[in-house]
Amino acid sequence: MTTLPGLTIAEAGAQLRRGDLSATELARAALQRIAAGRELNAFITVADEAEVLRTAEAADRRLRAGTPAGPLDGIPLAIKDVIATAGLRTTAASRILERFVPSYDATVTARLRAGGAVIVGKTNCDEFAMGSSNENSAYGAARNPWDTSRVPGGSSGGSAVAVAAGMALGSLGTDTGGSIRLPASYCGVVGMKPTYGRVSRFGVIAYASSLDQVGPFAHDVTDCALLLGAIAGHDPRDSTSADLPVPDYAAALEGGAKGLRIAIPREYFVEGMQPEVERAVRGAVRTFEGLGATTAPVSLPHTEYAVSTYYVIATAEASSNLARYDGVRYGARVDDDASLLEMYRRTRAAGFGPEVKRRIMLGTYALSSGYYDAYYLKAQKVRTLIRRDFTEVFESADVIVTPTAPTTAFRLGEKTADPLQMYLSDIFTISINLAGLPGLVLPCGFDETGQPIGLQIVGPPFGEEKVLRAARAFEAATEWHRRRPPVAA
């Protein structure tokens, strides 16, 4: 019987096209794995079985006829529940959208469907993508498949778990301050945040409009490149999407690391980092050197201001983006024969969780009259300084290599009492969103307790090919990405 955990998209695709495997078998295997792994709470909504099989059967017909819709035809994929899927409930992991079923697909959803992908369900995440551990979900926390007493990372925890635990061969997440890269690191899978504007945000429930990007999770870099290629590209419905051609990411992969110029920023090796994390990352740097890359220490001097900058800009944009959840046109409503104002208050008080409320309040404050200059405007200026740091480094480097997080996955409940502590988990990922750069995370080791450690590779704007090539070279020289978590009971 097919074991999904053993397969990559590339391998499954080859088997499907050879006829050694059918899309229907794959779909059934995925649904079985999801059912068997419920304690991981990776999914908020599992797609209807009949619907899933119908999509798989359509893929099988195309495959038998020798006319697959593309490399993703028949491949079971999962989608983070902040991304709209027509006809399939989309909750943003919030009570306020508990019964919301969109009549429209996000552009990325439509592109996957057009490629024949079989969508098996909507994955768990932090509510409205606000969080670093997937503990802020109104549908319960998701759990790390390597150790279910630990967090999978957030906000796209469910999407990372689904891939790590073999419930889907790939998945989509979103990344605003590290929400793809951190779970990828904690769950030992590959996760990528593309350059801002590379992938359409239409249909993606907005958290911070100038920071959000959709990106893939996969078992390896080749799969990651496949998924990226399927979703990337200009969308006239998203005015922030770049009108630039999409390169063939798969074709760029095997270039190797010889001559690659790697920058290592000193600010990303801080006191208080878990020693094994630092060791694994430095080990990865040596691996690159062994492959013919050159490395140089650099400075990104404004790194220490990134978290503050982020929490002003992101919360400000979020406070405005979440104003639409008012119980008028969709979503939950609490009114009890109240006045309009009471209806608004009660609906939002009941519908939003504490972290969401916290960020809305912070953001509203940052934009309010008398404080706008001191907070929002100030943060946007510091953002310019942070971007300049990177522009300067990329003048003489191809990629930047860093750890993804100061530690491996922490335990559930460990950081929930102190939101500020939680925010600091994003310290190595956040600057990359502020600068709009592409960043990929892949496994580079495990700690003593068997928890994965992720390496982050950052590129210049629209430098996805460089990042993928570097990642692929590292992966080809190591075995970390082949390890799978123990199968959930």
């Binding site: 009549s103 024969d337 916290r358 907070y375 200026k381 510091v382 300084l385 500020l420």
Partner: protein, 69 residues
């Protein structure tokens, strides 16, 4: 909630360590400009589908508690 917000705001005050008087705010993270939409009607939406998620409706209207002027 207030104590955590206070702590966060105190942390955010770090930004004041920097002199940004000569710095422009980041308006947009994009270098290129998109083209604009042509003025054509492309709406083919189904009103029922759009009202399907409405918490309260009255015919084709959305219904809300009265707005007191």
């Amino acid at each position: 909630m207030t104590t955590t917000l206070d702590a966060i705001l105190t942390y955010i005050d770090k930004l004041n360590e920097l002199d940004t008087s000569a710095v422009e705010p980041t308006a947009q993270v994009l270098d290129r400009l998109p083209s604009w939409r042509d003025d054509v009607v492309t709406n083919g939406e189904d009103t029922d589908a759009l009202l399907a998620n409405a918490p309260a409706r009255d015919g084709d209207f959305f219904r809300v508690p009265k707005i007191i002027e």
